[in-house]
Amino acid sequence: MGGWAEQLINGLAVGAVYALIALGYTLVFGVLRLFNFAHCDVMMAGAYIGWLCAERLRLGLLPAAVAAAGVCALLGLVVERFGYRPLYGASGMPLMVVALGISLLLQYTAMLLFGAGARVYPFGYTGGVVRIGSVTLPASKLTALLLCVALTAGLELVLKYTRAGRAVRAVADDKTAARLCGIYENRAVSLAFVLGSALAGISGVVYGSMYLVSPLMGLTPGLKAFAASVIGGIGSIPGAVLGGLALGLAEALAGAAFGTATKDMVSFVLLIAFLLLRPGGIMNSKSGTGRV
């Protein structure tokens, strides 16, 4: 019983990281109809910022997460302003090529700065273990879950109740109508990048503290988060969270039942199944058009 409960929490914790990354994909897709494949490398940058804060500056998890969020938000802003904005109005392919180019640029910059080898957060960085009855859980997993819940709620509040958040929702819903209302589209797109990248930075710290930090670390969770956002319903914030958690859970349960080798397979089998049977994902009944 205890083993399955641990697997459940493990799955939800990894799913929470997927969800945080998927939120960034969803925000950017909402306003730009673009899968920002450089997003997972922004998460990698966040993991390195967190590692620097933890290892060199001896900062705790929260200040490290805040620093990673800040640096990654700035990085997201630069990527949007200088990478994508000159190509607005072009078809999807040039933007996709730029996304891949930025992804490689970030990976090789990390390699140049930190080397190709993996780095590890200090032992016990996210706390020890928590015991609930007979179940022993690593504190890092619970932290990931709590952060996911808090950040998703915070993001919903920002998008629903702030002027800038409403502008992002308006641009995601209908760009023409947004211009008609005097909303400056580019500013809303920048904000979507900033918010998404800040979340990626935080998820980088959480993921990095659970596993290893390396220049190519973003690839696997990035692909899983992409699958999660499609499964949840691309463009939908609750969908991204639901997709992430469901994917994490499915992986953990498959791993426990059939061995760890099946973990990755489950994610992509689910992705293919959703694309074939329900292309709009869990939250969108129709073929997803993307909304925030």
């Binding site: 002027r163 409403r166 502008a167 929702r169 308006a170 819903d173 209908d174 023409t176 109508a177 947004a178 211009r179 008609l180 209302c181 005097g182 909303i183 400056y184 589209e185 909304r291």
Partner: protein, 243 residues
Amino acid sequence: MHLLSCEGITKRYGGVTAVDGVSLSVEEYETLGIIGSNGAGKTTLFNILTGFDRPDSGTVTLRLNERELQVQGFGAFTFAHMGVGRTFQNLRLFEEMTVYENIRTAILSMKRTEIAAEELLKLLGLTEQAEMPVNKLPYGTRKKAELARALVCTCGVKKGCRLLFLDEPAAGLTTAEAYELALLLLRLKKQYGLTMVLIEHNMAFLEDLCSTLCAMDEGKIIAAGKPQEVFSAAVVRSAIFGE
């Protein structure tokens, strides 16, 4: 005094000339109607006059704070902040938001607004539907919601030019709804001192509302003047009414 004028507006899409050397002017507090069969160039002209499209040649002049500004090439975003509001033939509402959120989003995007969402909801009889998502509302109510949102820019911008463009406002409405809308627009015009430009196929609706009409055919203005004069012009009867 002209509030809006355009001179020699031409717009081509490939080999098709959608608008061909159109010149017109709109006086302050006037209601100008534009008629024409489908493909006459009415919506293209509207798009140019509201910043959604750029003309290939010609000028658009808007009077704002006693100054005349050449605004061709300005984006719709800038027009909105100058007090130009617009509705679309095919409704462009934020479908995932409620009626209130649609209006509030427009209010929040303006730097200084002199209008409150509650005031607009009451004025347009939308108070009961305020918290409903717009995609769940009947067509007539959705049209009112879009009009309410357009009024935010038209009436809410401080020292704005209070110019409202309506693209087929009565389309899809019953006769009673169209009559009710005409009365509402007259009331709004009086209350806020609006200048209106509208495209419409419902001639009775236009007759009730407009002081001046322009008839378009193949991208050109073929007649302009008082509604009865335009309706009875031989060129209009032939090109638009097929007589």
